[in-house]
């Protein structure tokens, strides 16, 4: 098993062992960006992205001019003071950034529209206990069927551009959480399939070197076919047309916050419209 990317904490000792790998480095302080960039110069690895999780609102994050080339995934709770945000816009538009806003604040559905309409790529971070499927539908429609061009809003844009109605369509990569492409490491170099596994301490290998171990391969195969479990039950997700995109991600909230099935079914209709608009776009021959 050889995934494309490893998601790891900012740990010099660990990172030193990850030569020639592509890394998503998790930061909890914006001030650590400089340190991560310095490590890339010191050791021979590639920064796929710096994943910053902060409680500071977007408008208050002190972005700097010398980060223009650093790929950033910023998980922030809110947009913050609008005037401060607008002051930062010229710089934000130049930075290689995707802003993640969580669903636990209703205004974030609108904030994502604002951010996107002002040219900043963004993404919705699903918080399972705080989902508003109606607002999500509005946001998804805005993301895919805009009146005028705006910056992408994920995971809608991500899925729409990769959607295959005959396959399972997973958007976990938007959150570095698709084990086919991303594996997670802790400070000691233990390997996990997902962020949740990491939080719960369920690791699959003691180190990267063990990833080719047949036991790990077996675990991987088991994980890969875990989706079939949905179809062994005769309720809910097994009959849901939206499953092709959702893949059962909301099966545990479907009763407490209903609406996911309607949303994902509508999502598929909008994707079809989106695709037909893309198909109708005339493209001249390319030299």
């Amino acid at each position: 098993m050889n995934p494309d990317f490893f998601v790891c904490p900012l740990n010099k000792k660990l990172i030193r062992t990850l030569r020639e790998r592509s890394l998503v480095i998790k930061l909890d302080k914006i001030q650590d960006v400089g340190q991560a960039v310095a490590l890339e110069k010191e050791f021979d690895f590639h920064i796929h992205c710096l994943q910053l999780e902060t409680q500071t609102p977007l408008a208050s994050i002190p972005f700097q001019n010398d980060w223009l080339d650093v790929p950033l995934a910023v998980y922030t709770p809110s947009l913050g003071n609008f005037f401060d945000f607008v002051e930062k816009l010229p710089l934000l538009r130049q930075i290689n950034i995707r802003v993640y806003l969580p669903t636990n604040k209703k205004e974030n559905y609108t904030n994502l529209q604002i951010i996107s309409s002002l040219g900043i790529t963004s993404a919705l971070e699903f918080k399972k206990d705080y989902l508003d499927w109606e607002l999500m539908t509005d946001l998804m429609t805005y993301a895919l069927l805009p009146l005028v061009p705006h910056a992408p809003i994920d995971p809608f844009y991500y899925i729409a551009n990769r959607y295959d109605p005959h396959k399972r369509n997973d958007y976990n990569s938007v959150y570095f959480n698709d084990f086919r492409f991303y594996l997670h490491l802790d400070h000691d170099g233990r390997v996990y399939f997902s962020h949740d596994d990491l939080k719960q301490g369920h690791y699959i290998a003691d180190s990267i070197e063990e990833l080719n171990n047949p036991e790990v391969e077996k675990e991987l195969s088991k994980r890969y076919f875990r989706w079939t479990g949905f179809f062994l039950k005769t309720d809910g997700c097994a009959y849901c047309p939206g499953w092709r995109i959702c893949l059962g991600k909301f099966s545990d909230t479907v009763k407490s916050i209903p609406g996911c099935s309607k949303f994902f079914s509508e999502f598929m209709d909008v994707i079809e419209q989106y695709k037909s608009i893309q198909r109708d776009k005339k493209e001249v021959w390319q030299p």
Partner: protein, 335 residues
Amino acid sequence: MPNILFTQYCVRSCPYCFAKKHMSESSPDDVLSWENLIYLVDFLQKSGEKRFSILGGEPTLHPDFNNMVLYVLERGLDVTVFTSGVMKEEKLQEAVSFFKPVPRERLSFICNLNDPLKTPSPPAEIESVKRFLRAFGEKVVPGFNIYRTDFELDFIFQYINEYGLQRHIRLGIAHPIPGRKNIYIALDDMEKVINRVFSYISLFERLRIKPGLDCGFPMCKFTDEQLAWLYRYTGGKNEFGCGPVIDIGPDMSVWSCFPLSSFHKKSIFEFNSLKDIHEYYMHLHDSIRIEAGGIFIECDDCVFRDDKNCHGGCVAHSLSRFQEEEPLRLKEVYF
């Protein structure tokens, strides 16, 4: 250029107010939401508009007024705000800090001023207006609505000089609101009003201030001498028009202009572009003019109206008249 209503309530109660009917039928809690604002900016940009015109009620009463204006400017549209200038001090200070560096070509205010003597307001309100004028001086075009024949413009000349406002006065004329009693200039008084405006010629010239006529002035009530002066002094920039302005409410309803706020109201979602909306209401205006060429009986045969040099005054006069007659006209001209 359409007007977008940020709010549907106002701190003033001007006797001539043409938004009165619309506001009385709306909830004061209806303010423009961010989602609707984003849609409207998208819609106008798709329609090729470059300017965004903000109206109320009093638009500055919107709790997010400053941020919303900032957003529209960031989206690349130039902004005009129609305001009374009555703003809470704290909000005004915030607005100054936000907008002072914005050039006046990108952001301007049309401040509708009332004569402190003829249309008295509470002293606190007058102070608030003065504070606003002092703060935004060169970004402000003073506006004045004429609803009586003995109006005076001296106080506006004084404000322009005192606060450094733009040297231009937007002169509006109060029109009837079909289906509602309001104070407006009767047809017989049009000439008096025009003569009164022209009694200020020497001040306009001496102070280098240009008058700008808003919609609904009938050309025939100006003498040739007055028209010649207007042409010479304003470079022929005045029109004698009446057509759909297009107002868009916070709930995304659309209508032709405030006096016609109940006339064939639609939803913006029924149209694909501003051009579609304009064509829809233009067709209705044309229907009204089939029934009555203009506000005067002579309008029907007027060569200047045929050539569209004058639109025959405000259609609200004709619509008001139709209301009082037997309903024998084209069905489109009724509410």
